[in-house]
């Protein structure tokens, strides 16, 4: 067992979110949303915002750390960190980086945030209308293959072929997320349940993904504040202790034109063992899971790679009754997730994972002690996180 570990040394002490709006509908700009979320996280923790001395983010967040520190009048900045690459795959990794900074003694109180106002800046899932393209995208864009939905659909299709999987698990994952959103008044899809019929009849985006297999597009901001476990115990909320985090990428997963050797992986085969080893737990110890749904297909492979079921058991395991609160074997995305709460690039999943250990979720799993977050998936690098009560 390595002596190099963040296990139980750091806790999430504050959670902050703005209202989540449909894409383009935020009444204020993205930077202002970021400041609001950070302020709310500080209020939630019961600390002045000026106690923050470290900043970490991911996915090339546009809301520059030094600008944030300046706007908030932070006395000094001791940690300024961007998880490199992977889009939403960096969310848990940003938490891990913040925890490492605290354990290393670089900073004492680190905020991790993500703010998105796509309407202001241009839309995901669209190929820019440019005349030429070179490098890796040149091997796929001219064939009309350019967006995450499109390459994740290809890899999902291969996984479905290898393990004889039908549309049913994808539908079950979508329906589970929408089910949980019906209990969460903050969810964008609150009041808009999803039936199997609605799912089947919704338009194809790219087979095998229907509209409802795809994450939403939202404006908003979310922030969490981390501090040492000792300090967190003195603050306003029950701490959500960081048991472990892992980040990275499997062998040559960056190869262009769909040449990652392990084709249909979510990219967690090397992370999950490290994550569980650092935490000192097994998959069976996990009470509730937040699994990033860029698309339902990638949730399926992530559940397999985190040891919740064997690939040949997906048809049995990924059923609505197993994935839903209150009685499911492993409730997932219990505030609605990227599909139905909001698409805040997975930071809202980290917030929900923390709520589950605090006991304050709108779909609170009874006696939830251990709460996992999977960030990515099917991107590179990816990351994951375990929190405990």
């Amino acid at each position: 067992m390595s002596e190099f570990t963040i296990k139980d040394k750091v806790a999430i002490a504050g959670l902050g979110e703005t209202t989540y709006y449909k894409r383009g509908a935020a009444p204020v700009g993205e930077f202002r949303l970021a400041l609001e979320a950070i302020q709310r996280a500080a209020d939630d923790a019961g600390i002045p915002v000026t106690a923050i001395d470290g900043i970490a983010s991911y996915s090339n967040d546009r809301n520059d750390s030094v600008r944030v520190a300046t706007a908030l009048g932070l006395p000094e900045l001791r940690f300024s960190n961007m998880f490199w690459g992977g889009g939403g795959g960096g969310g848990s990794g940003a938490i891990g980086n913040a925890a490492a900074a605290i354990v290393a003694g670089f900073a004492t109180c680190v905020v991790v945030y993500r703010a998105l106002a796509q309407g202001q800046f241009g839309r995901f899932g669209q190929t820019p209308a440019i005349r030429t393209i070179s490098g890796a995208p040149a091997y796929t864009w001219p064939y009309g293959m350019s967006t995450p939905a499109q390459w994740i659909a290809l890899r999902t299709r291969r996984f479905m072929h290898e393990h004889r999987i039908t549309q049913d698990p994808l539908a079950a994952i979508a329906m589970a997320c929408y089910h949980h959103a019906q209990f969460n008044p903050r969810a964008v899809m609150y009041g808009k349940p999803l039936s199997r019929k609605d799912y089947d009849e919704s338009r194809w985006i790219v087979e095998p993904f229907h509209l409802y297999d795809c994450c939403m597009e939202n404006d908003g901001a979310a922030a969490v504040i981390l501090t040492s476990a000792e300090r967190a115990r003195d603050l306003k909320q029950r701490p959500a202790y960081v048991m472990a985090s892992a980040q990275g990428s499997d062998f040559r997963q960056g190869a262009a034109a769909e040449n990652g050797p392990d084709y249909s992986t979510s990219n967690f085969k090397t992370l999950a063992p490290r994550l569980y080893a650092m935490a000192g737990i097994k998959p069976g110890d996990v009470d509730v899971a937040q699994v990033y749904e860029n698309f339902t297909g990638a949730v399926m492979t992530s559940l397999v790679e985190h040891g919740f079921c064997h690939p040949d058991e997906v048809m049995d395991f990924c059923r609505f009754e197993n994935l839903t609160w209150p009685n499911g074997r492993l409730p997932i995305n219990t505030s609605g997730g990227n599909l139905a709460e909001c698409y805040m690039h997975g930071l809202e999943l980290i917030i929900e994972a923390a709520r589950q250990v605090r006991g304050t979720s709108t779909c609170q799993v009874k006696d939830a002690e251990i709460s996992i977050v999977v960030s990515g998936p099917m991107v590179a690098p990816v990351s994951d996180l375990i929190l405990r009560r």
Binding site: G135, P137, P142, Y143, G144, W204, V206, E207, A255
Partner: protein
């Protein structure tokens, strides 16, 4: 709908970004070979390992002595999808269309991405044999498309 008429020039309509060789020359040979209607894959001159996309270094033995090797253009469908939602303005009239990932028959496990010529609503079978078809574009580049090998 894309065209499945063998007389038509291109599977997708004009307006998609045109591929251009990288400025540093790394993949110039790939695109020039395509113009000559040849499919080439990078292969290490020391250990014969294939790799794609091309890199300056062999990922296996780390020599800088990597070259290009012509392959047969035969392969099997490794995965596929039917795209219904246009992610580019030029594709609004093209959907649905098929994208395939093809595992080449004679290039290690290297794969290529392209379109499957023919009826865009057809049933697609993974492991079906396909062969490369070179699609010349008036703008001065050639794409590598795929068609089923008739048995």
């Amino acid at each position: 709908m894309p065209s499945d008429d063998s007389q038509s020039k291109t599977y997708l309509p004009a307006g998609m970004p045109a591929p251009a060789a990288m400025h540093d020359g790394l993949d110039r040979e790939f695109w020039e070979a395509a113009r000559r209607h040849e499919l080439v894959v990078q292969r290490c001159n020391k250990c014969a390992t294939f790799q794609f996309g091309p890199e300056w270094i062999c990922h296996k033995c780390h020599t800088l002595d990597v070259g290009w090797h012509r392959v047969s253009g035969r392969g099997r469908i490794y995965s596929w999808e039917r795209v219904w939602h246009p992610a580019h303005p030029a594709l609004k009239s093209a959907c649905p269309y098929i994208v395939v990932v093809v595992e080449l028959a004679d290039a290690g496990k290297v794969r290529m991405v392209g379109n499957l010529l023919g009826d865009p609503m057809r049933e697609v079978k993974i492991d079906a044999e396909v062969e490369a078809v070179f699609e010349d574009h008036a703008e001065g580049f050639t794409l590598i498309q795929w068609q089923l090998v008739e048995r």
